[in-house]
Symmetry: C2
Subunit: 213 residues, 2 copies
């Protein structure tokens, strides 16, 4: 132990990236992984009861499971959160995430607000980041720009976004995505800074120094 | 207001950089300022009752004041912390720091542990960063390497350092200064990340979005 450099951040951290649809959280997560050149950073892989689409790989895009297995996982607290979309189930497998964190890998989980709040309840040590559009007008423009939604659907999504924004105080960080490069680099800074945060594990570090002297 | 990009970090933040003598906090602060190329980042300037040395400028290196003025400031809570060194007084002027923060400038304050804890009491919104040597053996090497201290003084400083390390849990962040570039870049990431932190001002931001829609 004598003279050995002390480690302050051996364990990985869970970064939950959330925010209204259209704020750009998916793009930010993709860029985080693509640009990080870190082997110890990965996206969380969900379980789902839907069938794999062409090109989708087990354990890469999803873990594909059946309804019975899903129910069992949900009932035994093995999912950090889960939701139903068009009759199919999706969830975040707790054990897979904890395994990654234990081996020192950071896990990034992109998820909408309600899922994020469930994850916070089940894993409060996560770092919760809310991605905001630069303004509501810009959000409307982005949603409209896709050209796939009717006026009614757009209004519904705008009002959902406003509702979600009311929950920002449940998060640790808020990043305004006006310029994508800037937003990605801010999230990178947050990931870096969080590995220097003083946590309840600090006493272990202090003991290392005391033994060293 | 409509469509205007929301500001999440209009106010400056106080970053208190502390740690044992020999950990390198002075060098890190100097590099932070020299390399930041930010006009809105500055070092805190202390008041002192000692006489200016050659080349020292009022308001740049120190604010030079007399004992009466110092006592008055201390008694009226106008100092975030103060201490006596060789019969002369030194302190951090609260109003000067608050002025900088109000105009959106970040203030970096380099200070030893006891001063840092006093600042925390008087300004809990500060961000408190502890700089650690990579190991106690390395700290001893650095202190010894200066060649200016006797063995007794070195032992005294080592035991003071160990005592200071016990207070890390009072801090928000801990940065191990093994490689200087890496340590500076970590502190820069912390400064950046802190400007994205959700604070009690968040309701103001939420209201801006609600008005915008």
């Amino acid at each position: 132990m004598k003279g050995k450099t002390m480690q302050t951040d051996k364990k990985g951290k869970l970064f939950v990236i959330s925010g209204p649809s259209g704020a750009g959280k998916g793009t930010i997560c993709k860029r985080l992984i693509d640009e990080s050149r870190r082997e110890d950073l990965c996206l969380s892989v969900s379980v789902t009861t839907r069938k794999p689409r062409e090109g989708e790989e087990e354990g890469v895009h999803y873990y594909f499971i059946d309804e019975d297995r899903f129910r069992e996982m949900a009932e035994h607290g093995q999912l950090l959160e889960f939701a139903e979309v068009y009759g199919k189930h999706y969830g975040t497998p707790k054990e897979k995430v904890l395994e990654k964190l234990a081996e020192g890998t950071d896990v990034v989980l992109e998820i909408e607000m309600q899922g994020a709040l469930k994850v916070k309840k089940n894993y409060p040590d996560g770092v919760f980041i809310f991605i905001l559009p630069p303004s509501m007008a810009e959000l409307r423009k982005r949603i409209t720009g896709r050209g796939t939604e009717t006026e009614d659907v757009i209004d519904l999504r705008m009002s959902k976004a406003l509702d979600e924004i009311s929950y920002i105080e449940e998060y640790d960080y808020v990043v305004v995505n006006e310029d994508l490069d800037e937003a990605v680099s801010r999230v990178q800074a947050i990931i870096r800074a969080e590995h220097s945060r003083v946590t309840k594990d600090i006493n272990e570090l202090i003991s290392q120094y005391k033994e060293d002297e």
